[in-house]
Assembly symmetry: C4
Homo-oligomer: 271 residues x 4
């Protein structure tokens, strides 16, 4: 790759970085533009809005699309490793943010269009990318990541439970009461166990209602498990953060009630 | 401002203060009057009650209004800094508590009236102001305040999730199954993720029900996150409140009922 | 009161006590009889069962009633302080457990009967009295009792929230969409905030659905508060139970990492 | 029992063990075959699928059945104590996994068939048996097991509550509003207390809706109890797992990454 100009380097700090005033401003403006573009997709799907404000929406749509196109071009131009950016997850998302509106010119048709437009909503992930920088979000993600094995085990147990309950309810209630197939009965069991309870399918026999009651009380009780997992994990992280640093060896995780550093054995200052 | 009379000072302690017997009695009477006035607004909105007890409600309404007017006048009269009280949040709420009934004389009409009356319900905040003085309420608010960054991050993540899920469900189920627009699909996703589940909109295709099942299990699992955040915060506050620091050895986690430091054996001060 | 016979004293230990084999057996038999009598009330309310097994239910009903009458007479006879037992809560419940069936002879009529029968269900409290003796139940009740101020504050805040939200939704949706009065709108707000979501009333305007979404997310988030309160309380109890007893002064709540007794300053054994 | 051949011993390690590469591979293949066989039962219950892909499903069904038959025969052949395996829980489940398809040849008829097929879903437990080996699952089960007394007490209290509330609602709303019997009213109370809220039965009188509101707020609040129980238990386990005991001073809460005891400064063994 040839030498990069001064403009490229300055733009790179603004477009990709968040450590300068201009870089932060760029991110905030981009955030609002993405939110506006998402709002446009939402509004275009409402029939009354489309009928009344169609041309205005179209104009706003093209404005946003042109802005995203310029942004994508700038990002490619200023990247140190263009190939890597273009093929990265956000490189693809940035491209897909602008593409659908152009495609709609070549292949018109409402249904097809709206499907392509939906992909643009992955821009929401760009917003998440911004918040991920905040400390708290990463703490929560860490807590979830540390609990991932337990959450998977819990989810598998829930799936096994709803499969068994769904099958039993299919046999008890039968197709005439809305439990037309085992998958549909499992769907009902999930709706019930998670305490959502649409009511589009509901047991009508006494035995079915007794079984449903058992599932509900079970669902009401086992919600304690994911909550307990995450609570314990967050509490553990909190505890680890309330630590002192040893001034002798620099160990950074000394409990605040220790009289001697657990890493080097030197007495702790202030203890 | 001119010198304040003895009566003004005595009334100020009663009306604004809570440290005298008369002051506490005033607050309790006021609390019940506010609850009564709120009950009147509720009852007036019920058609059968309005038809049968209309005159009685009207009489009670005016009694409460006159009491609130007197109270407001007294509060203004006894305030040290009248301008500050009148323009403060509760100064405005106190005024708005009495005003709507007078306005209803000038501008009659049921619909308009009830809208104005609703503002009076902000008097509920005055009740909350009283309970805020209690220790426990402020502890809970502190726990929520300390967790505000995490709760905002969590709410943003939930909003991003329901936007994505709502759009996908709009494409999967389509307008013919009740998912008439993306905003409406997002409304459905919120109803489902929060496990409310009205059932006014429910997926009917197999793919839609499978997706809905995924959202439900997700919603059932991620409720653990706000719970974990608040649990950890309350536990942290509990811990901080129950410890003293030993002045001899500096141990910072001595239980508040200890008479001797558990680390160095020196007697605790004040025990 | 005249001298109590040997039989009276033996029966008292059986009927009121739980420290003898016979006493425990009596409690278990009584528990099952109460459950049976409750089941009878449940079954009698089912129309098909009443039509088919009416005479059998009547026979079982009278058997249980006679047993409860004998039990009540024995309890009165063996009591040390008869007046105190008869006027105590369980004295009244024991009487009301037998009475309704006799009253039904004098005043027949299905509707009236069933109302009186419902009182018998308070016998369930007698069952609870038995479980209260178990250690775990009293721990849970202690945790709830210790958290009572916070739970009341939380409930008041929830009531204030649903009152405000209910009124706003009444104004936004109006009687034509099912929100016929403010109390009914508050009922809807409770159904929504607690994530029950019957769907008998549901918002239909875009603004109403947006507001409803806010309530749902709020309800989904603030469920964290009671959970956090109780979790912290149970964790605190757990911690207090993991304590040592000082062999010098007998203090029973020494933390298990203490080197000196916090009450008398003597070194802890084994530390 | 006669001497076991080398092949029997090698097969036993593969079929029953999980400590060899072949044994783990066998378990994974078996897991997928079970999932496939469960999926076949689910699909066969869907009317459209049965009509269109009937012969294919039948072929897959018989393939799976033959595989399970061979597996069962091998398990019996290689067992050290055949009688014990055949009569064990998983011995019976392994047999029942293969049997229904053969039985369907002798006794055809869709309804009867599907009932027998449902038993096969207990194969899901075999999947759970595999995950039980994982550390996290056993931790969760331990936490649940340690909390079993509390969870039972809580469930009994919930059952007592819904019985009382169900009976009161039966008297308040009556059969004309859908509360046709006390058991059905209790079913409604469970649906409401657990915040499922189908909406198939909903109170219509003002008093009924007020009572329902009380049940909902209660249900919303007491979900804190199981959550608090499990949270405290998981947190307790976490704490116990992360500590060592100092062999010099006997301090029992040394973090497992400490090299020196924080209480006496002596080096920790094994660090």
């Amino acid at each position: 790759m040839k030498g990069r100009s001064d403009l490229q380097q300055r733009l790179e700090r603004i477009v990709f970085g968040t450590d300068t005033r201009a870089g932060r401003l760029f991110d905030v403006v981009l955030l609002w533009t993405i939110l506006l573009s998402v709002a446009l997709v939402l509004l275009e799907s409402v029939h009354e809005v489309r009928v009344r404000y169609g041309p205005w929406l179209m104009a706003a749509e093209w404005t946003v699309t042109v802005l995203f196109t310029i942004e994508y071009a700038v990002r490619v131009w200023v990247s140190r490793d263009r190939r890597r950016y273009v093929l990265s997850f956000y490189g693809l998302v940035d491209l897909l943010a602008a593409l659908p509106t152009y495609v709609s010119l070549l292949a018109p048709g409402t249904q097809a269009l709206s499907i392509i437009r939906a992909i643009r909503l992955t821009r929401v992930f760009r917003i998440l990318r911004l918040t991920t920088y905040t400390r708290e979000a990463s703490h929560l993600l860490l807590a979830l990541y540390a609990s991932r094995h337990r959450i998977i085990v819990f989810t598998l147990a829930v799936l096994a439970l709803v499969t068994v309950f769904g099958t039993v309810m299919y046999l008890v209630e039968g197709p005439s009461h809305g439990f037309t197939s085992i998958p549909r009965s499992i769907y009902w069991a999930i709706v019930t166990l998670t305490t959502v309870g649409y009511g589009d399918i509901a047991p009508r026999t006494a035995l079915g209602q007794a079984l449903a009651s058992a599932i509900m009380i079970l669902g009401y009780a086992i919600i304690a498990i994911p909550t307990g997992i995450v609570s314990a994990e967050i509490a553990r992280q909190e505890r680890q953060r309330r630590v002192l640093t040893c001034t002798t060896c620099g160990a950074g995780d000394v409990q605040d009630d220790a009289r001697y550093c657990p890493q080097c054995g030197a007495p702790m200052k202030g203890a």
